[in-house]
């Protein structure tokens, strides 16, 4: 058994070494402008994340979702029965949150839906939306915001976004569809997933320790 494993390791390393030395024929690598345009994008990073390395991105989203499941599972039984009373509302913060929430949401949607053309993408959009939710949680109190957001339906949206993202990934990877709309859809879904994840982490941490 030990000899077999050793032989397998030696064979694998040898194959890799031969491959790096150029024994196997390699297809010509197109310029990155051509490769980016083939995926219907102008931002090379978006073409890599949602095209050439899409397996990586899909599994990354799955890892993210699994980490969130872990956060929920461990922190739900630890939630305090009597949470610390929320910080008293300041008019400055509530009014600022009211004014800023709209622009933050619009900016996040813009970043997600134009991520294949310029700087941006699903992950920054999710982070922006999550920071908007953090601002709301600071202004209103996390528990009140959680009741308004309705956790079970939020969970359903999250899993629906993951399923839709896997379907889109199947279209791109298995059926090799190409087009800008696929990238826009994937970016919006990733943004939704990341924002909901950030909110789940924020809410569970806040409710297990009292308040934000």
């Amino acid at each position: 058994m030990r000899w077999l494993a050793g032989a397998a390791v030696v064979a694998l390393v040898g194959l890799l070494a031969l491959g790096t030395w150029g024994l196997f024929p390699r297809p010509p690598v197109p310029s990155w402008e051509e490769a980016t345009a083939a995926f219907g994008a102008r931002n090379a990073v978006a073409a890599i994340v949602l095209g050439a390395r899409l397996w990586d991105t899909l599994l990354e989203v799955l890892v993210y979702a699994m980490a969130l499941v872990g956060v929920r599972m461990v922190l739900r039984p630890l939630s305090r029965v009597q949470p610390v009373p929320p910080v008293s509302e300041t008019p400055l913060l509530t009014r600022a949150a009211d004014i800023l929430l709209g622009p933050i949401v619009v900016f996040a949607i813009y970043i997600a839906s134009s991520g294949h053309l310029g700087p941006g993408g699903g992950f920054p959009a999710g982070a922006i939306l999550g920071s908007g939710l953090l601002l709301l949680a600071l202004a209103k109190g996390a528990e009140r915001l959680a009741q308004e957001l309705h956790e079970p339906s939020l969970e359903r949206v999250e899993y629906g976004a993951i399923a839709a993202l896997l379907a889109l990934g199947g279209l791109i990877l298995v059926l090799s569809w190409r087009g800008s709309w696929l990238l826009v859809g994937a970016n919006v879904l990733i943004g939704l997933e990341v924002a909901i994840g950030a909110w789940v982490v924020l809410h569970h941490f806040a409710s297990s320790r009292g308040e934000v």
């Binding site: 890599i48 990354e60 993210y64 461990v74 922190l75 630890l78 053309l117 993408g121 569970h204 941490f205």
Partner: protein, 115 residues
């Protein structure tokens, strides 16, 4: 020059973070060190993508050589995974603190678990 300086800073951050991760006995300090090391790794990847006088890897934005887009895509992955795993690790620290009432690694290893 900026690329080399940023790469050196990234390596220094990673080294100090890993040193904190190994030497400190408090779990929260260990996670902080891991956090700093991850920041150093991210900075190192961005510095690797740097070329002198390069433009962003976006078509129709400036002229000249473009920055390498592949490390930037890797950084995108690294940041999100880092956030998720750090949240999970902190949750585990909360769990440990609730059940064992200590964050010291030596005590956690030596003292038997309370029934």
């Amino acid at each position: 020059m900026e690329g080399i300086a940023a790469a050196a800073l990234g390596i220094a951050l990673g080294g100090s973070g890993l040193w904190t991760l190994v030497r400190r006995r408090n779990v929260i300090w260990k996670l902080l060190g891991l956090n700093v090391a991850a920041g150093g790794a991210i900075l190192f990847l961005v510095a690797v993508a740097h070329r002198p006088g390069a433009r962003p890897a976006i078509e129709g934005l400036g002229s000249g050589p473009a920055a390498d887009p592949l490390p930037q895509a890797l950084v995108l992955t690294a940041i999100v995974i880092h956030f998720a795993t750090l949240a999970l690790a902190l949750v585990y620290v909360i769990f440990l603190t609730e059940h064992r009432h200590t964050q010291d690694v030596h005590k956690l290893e030596r003292e038997p678990e309370e029934p």
